[in-house]
Symmetry: C2
Subunit: 217 residues, 2 copies
């Protein structure tokens, strides 16, 4: 499959590399053509890897990953161009983290909204599926580094888009517990959870953790 990965940070690079390893053709997109990190990644990742602007990547991809910082996601998707997004699935890993007042961050959306919804409202023809935003990049693509059947969540309005995302999460990345929370408004839950995730990182001393759901039998 042809996949666009928007963003050149740790999440973008980790996901793009994993997708290439799974046999996909991946174009990494950034604000400018020939972004230094994107060029270095494409060189390292081999023949199936390429890079370009957000618009180049979105035009190339049949399936899109948003791996930009939450504060830049709407701008990145605007730069990608609505015509390049139309009807496509966007696997959205972003979180609305506000670092403007230092660490730890707060959220720049109120608790009756979410970045997932803002993206969906701005691009109504895009099939936004919020997922993977509750774990560290390394865990996203290799859940087996954490013992047990810990959970990843999906939120989105389009059932078929969620099915395809779940297939990639389970068959591609090896996730065993994928919990469908409901429509895109349920992004409020996983984005708000980051406020706990950050404190757990501090308390546990490592970002290599996740939660699993224990339920009465």
């Amino acid at each position: 499959m042809k996949i666009a990965v928007l963003g050149t940070g740790m999440v973008g690079e980790t996901l793009a590399s994993k997708l290439v390893a799974l046999g996909h053709e991946v174009k990494m997109g950034s604000r400018t053509a020939n972004n230094e990190k994107a060029v270095a990644w494409a060189k390292k990742a081999g023949a199936k890897a390429s890079q370009g602007t957000f618009a180049d990547a979105a035009a190339f991809g049949e399936f899109l990953f948003n791996c930009t910082l939450g504060s830049g996601s709407l701008d990145a998707l605007s730069a990608a161009g609505a015509q390049n997004l139309q009807g496509k699935i966007l696997l959205d890993t972003s979180n609305p983290l506000d670092f403007s007042k230092g660490m730890p961050p707060s959220l720049f959306v109120p608790s009756n909204d979410s970045l997932g919804e803002r993206i969906q409202r701005a691009f109504p023809d895009l099939k936004v599926v919020k997922t993977l935003n509750t774990i560290n990049a390394n865990v996203m693509v290799e859940p087996s580094r954490i013992p047990g059947e810990h959970a990843v969540f999906v939120s989105g309005n389009d059932a078929e888009a969620k099915r395809q995302v779940k297939e990639l999460l389970t068959g591609g990345f090896g996730w065993k517990q994928v919990i469908d929370l409901g429509d895109i408004t349920t992004s409020r839950g996983t984005e708000a959870y980051l406020m706990l995730w950050i404190r757990l990182w501090g308390a546990l001393g490592t970002p290599d953790f996740n939660i699993s759901i224990a339920k009465k039998g």
Copy 2:
């Protein structure tokens, strides 16, 4: 020990009953003396149970539980009276849930504040320990109804107060995984998690669940 339970709802009743069962003397407090639910509870719970106003209960208790609705917690503690709170430990189970726009609720505090902090700021001499706010009442007092070593969190500024709360959680209620997140500002994490908890309740179809922390070995 003499314990005050502020609040007559499901959480207050469940905790008060458990504390009596553990051998403590418990006074349930509410806005008015002889609140119907408090009287019925005290009658049912036996000789170690009593009821009164918030001030009656707070004056009686050496150790206080806040089980009021988040929207009423500051008023309840004001009614209890700062002189009855001074130097005592408040185990705070409340969440800043805003039901004013219907279901599901949002939070009435922004993500750079928490109800735990608001209570601590309003009553600086009270030793606020936020805990048990991430699970259903039945699970709070009987963690073994959920399989596995799932987690409960504590947040607070006073190390000795947290030690005493942890002792009650482990020795009294049977909790096995108690995670100290840090000072009272870490209440932001567990309170925000409610936004995910509510959606998990919907997705799982039961409030009888909890999260456990899976960590790289």
